[in-house]
């Protein structure tokens, strides 16, 4: 009985576990290669740097599993963050500022979800459109200026250290735990998989596929809001270029973690391992003193190899 459970566990999480193994091996090798790598300072530093993308990758995983893609997340971080930053630096009101950030981000998510779920526009196109719109609005509203001078409470709460670990890092981990549960054990999560695998069959079971598709993008929007807040806590400033390129990082993290671009497959623990590998790899390249111009090449190769390995493994398993 117990054995059977173990077997099933290994079968179900095969790609996640193999990626975890790769990460562990990489981590051990790097610990020997660079004395600065396996230190508390370095690890916390990497975790801190990856927190924004990690949170975005949660929403991205939802959307990709549902069979779509969300290209708007990066610029949405910029727009929602900018609005919140402008409000807060003017009024000093933290609570309303936070609500604005999350509200605007969710609104963008619902808008994307409406385009994809109800108006049936291809996700790539719809979210590409919103990406461009968000970026443009950010510049229009800020007039190209950057904003800082947020309420002190934001720093006090966000950067508060528990056992030496900053609050937003703990928040990121808790968010992963919560959303993993949402994805595996709630209607929204389960039906996201069903829609991504076979949306017609899901619809014929009575599932409101439009609604649930929209909700996936709304989840992504919520994550954008939270990521934008973490970003503000980390940098204590927002400028119009904030968020650029984060959508690609979040997609890369999901894909490395075993999320299938075809939809229907992937888990948040997998995505988390993906973002760990992605972030520690960049860190390692820095520590090893590799020319930063080469770093993109290395991470690109890792993404392609990860997808290749996954497709070979799943073919062999069939």
């Amino acid at each position: 009985m117990k054995n059977e459970r173990m077997n099933r566990f290994f079968r179900t999480y095969r790609s996640e576990l193999s990626m975890l193994l790769v990460f562990v091996i990489f981590y051990i090798v790097m610990s020997f290669a660079s004395p600065a790598f396996n230190t508390k300072v370095n690890v916390l530093n990497v975790l801190s740097q990856m927190s924004v993308v990690a949170i975005l990758a949660i929403g991205q995983t939802f959307v990709i599993v549902s069979g779509g893609i969300d290209l708007a997340v990066g610029m949405a971080v910029g727009l929602s963050g900018m609005l919140g930053a402008m409000y807060m630096s003017k009024t000093g009101n933290l609570l309303v500022g936070v609500l604005i950030v999350i509200g605007v981000a969710c609104l963008i998510g619902f808008f994307n979800g409406f385009l994809v779920g109800y108006l049936r526009i291809a996700a790539f196109i719809a979210t590409l459109g919103s990406q461009v719109i968000c970026n443009s609005l950010t510049y229009v509203l800020s007039d190209g200026n950057s904003y800082s001078g947020f309420p002190r409470m934001l720093d006090t709460i966000g950067n508060h250290k528990f056992f030496g670990i900053r609050f937003y890092i703990i928040f990121m981990v808790l968010l992963y735990i919560l959303m993993t549960w949402v994805m595996s054990s709630t209607k929204l999560g389960r039906f996201t998989y069903s829609i991504g695998s076979n949306s017609e069959a899901a619809r014929l079971s009575g599932i409101n596929t439009r609604k649930y598709t929209m909700l996936c993008y709304a989840v992504s929007g919520l994550m954008v809001g939270l990521a934008a807040l973490v970003n503000m806590v980390r940098l204590m400033a927002v400028d119009p270029t904030t968020g650029g390129g984060l959508e690609m990082d979040s997609i890369a993290a999901s894909v490395i973690g075993g999320v299938s671009m075809a939809g229907g497959k992937g888990t948040l623990p997998g995505t988390f391992v993906g973002i760990l590998l992605y972030s520690f790899l960049r860190n390692a390249l820095n520590l090893l003193g590799i020319n930063p111009f080469w770093q993109g090449t290395v991470t690109g190769v890792v993404i392609i190899v990860a997808v290749l390995a996954e497709s070979f493994a799943s073919k062999r398993n069939k």
Partner: protein
Amino acid sequence: MGTNRQGVLVAENISKHFGGTQALSGVSFTLKAGEVHALMGENGAGKSTLGKILAGIHQPDGGEIYLDGQQIHVENPRAAKEKGISIVLQEFNLLPDLSVAENLIVGNDEYYKFGKRVLDKRKMYSHSKELLSLFKLGANLDVYEKVKDLTIAQMQILEILKAVDADSRIIILDEPTAALSGNEVDQLFEIVRRLQREKNIGFIIVSHKIEEIFAIADRVTVFRDGKQILDGVDLSTLTENDLVKSMVGREITNLYGSREFGTCKDNEEVLRAEHITDVHGRVKDVSLSLRKGEIVGLTGVVGAGRTELARCIFGIDHKKSGKVFIHGKEIPNVTIRHSIEAKIGFVPEDRKYDGLILNESIADNISQVLQNMQKSIVISKKKSVGEAERMKKELNIKMGSSYDSVNSLSGGNQQKVLLGKWMLTDPEILIIDEPTRGIDIASKSEIYTILNDLSRAGVTILMISSEQPEIIGMCDRILVMREGVLAGELSHEEVSEQRITALATIESGEKKNEE
């Protein structure tokens, strides 16, 4: 090394396993020149596997294949084609956006000029037309038409023509009639006979449909669980019963079970549909009424609007006009969800694309409707597994763990999972589209028993089917559709295949004559 068997294509002692299952264990097969040879067996018997081995799609673990007495190795479909062996699979290998002519010459260098870089359209069309006229198919296929606009039957004919054009001497047809209506089957067989006669092409037909095999094949080879049961036996020496017995391993005496027909005549009406017209004009002003505990058949030729009608009633497709009443009360806004709430179930025809989510677990599939209807947003795995186990017992589903994916099940068992998914909702009305398509006789018989039990328990069943024996054997009443309208109704006492066919086709036949 040679073989003692006499024939064009000989396979000896072929074995093949997939993962843990032994699909074929030491089977043999002989195709004589220009014969039609049926390869039969239940689902999972290994008949398709052998067909695919002969065509180079699978590689055998052991055994030899001989062509004209010479041992050959078919490493891949291309090698098989070069040796004159072609296969027409259930999933066609056609390019939907290209025309019939373009599909015919795909991969053939001869039709390119200027250093084989530019397509010679004139040559392509003249050759295609010639090929069509050779088999008097000009009326059936238009060389300029795009393949995506063809009917399934036409695509099948095109696939066969492609094989003929590649100078195949042996053509393997994998379940060729699975998606064809009666007329189309006759047409297909006519072409097979003509090719057999005029070009001496040998056919291997992989099938489990007994009547059809008697209509077309000369000899039959039967497998059961990967083992050889019959080896090239002359069909004239066999009866249908012999064949069923050899495929199933036991005699099935009463396929449709014992049902007392017409006992529900005075029961209360549970569903009434009035003047249903769909958006695309495939259903025109159809009304019907179902009584408690009845099994009502809905039949007609493919394209008559049966499935479309059912989809409108259940709320899958929007209707243009019409009303649906449950227990005399109108459903104001017919959506899938409202229909489920009104205790209607809908088992779709295509279990792989519409019915089930193949890569998800049996438990998740079987409880999907219930999960969606539950109030709580939290899904209990334990509950889903319990429901799967209950249905496993009730429907005799052969499966390992309920966490396994539906993909791992055979067609018959997938169908039971699909049926179970809707039985779990305790429906009062079950609409079931082609309940036994593509499944073996043993599973068929079980599904008929389940349907009979359900109806005895008071469930009303609307059964859509193209298989007339099944409609006749199961239904209290039969509704026949023709070109979107209800052409007539037959009671169990009145019904016969001739009468169904007459209702389903006569008017359209007359129309054609007038033209």
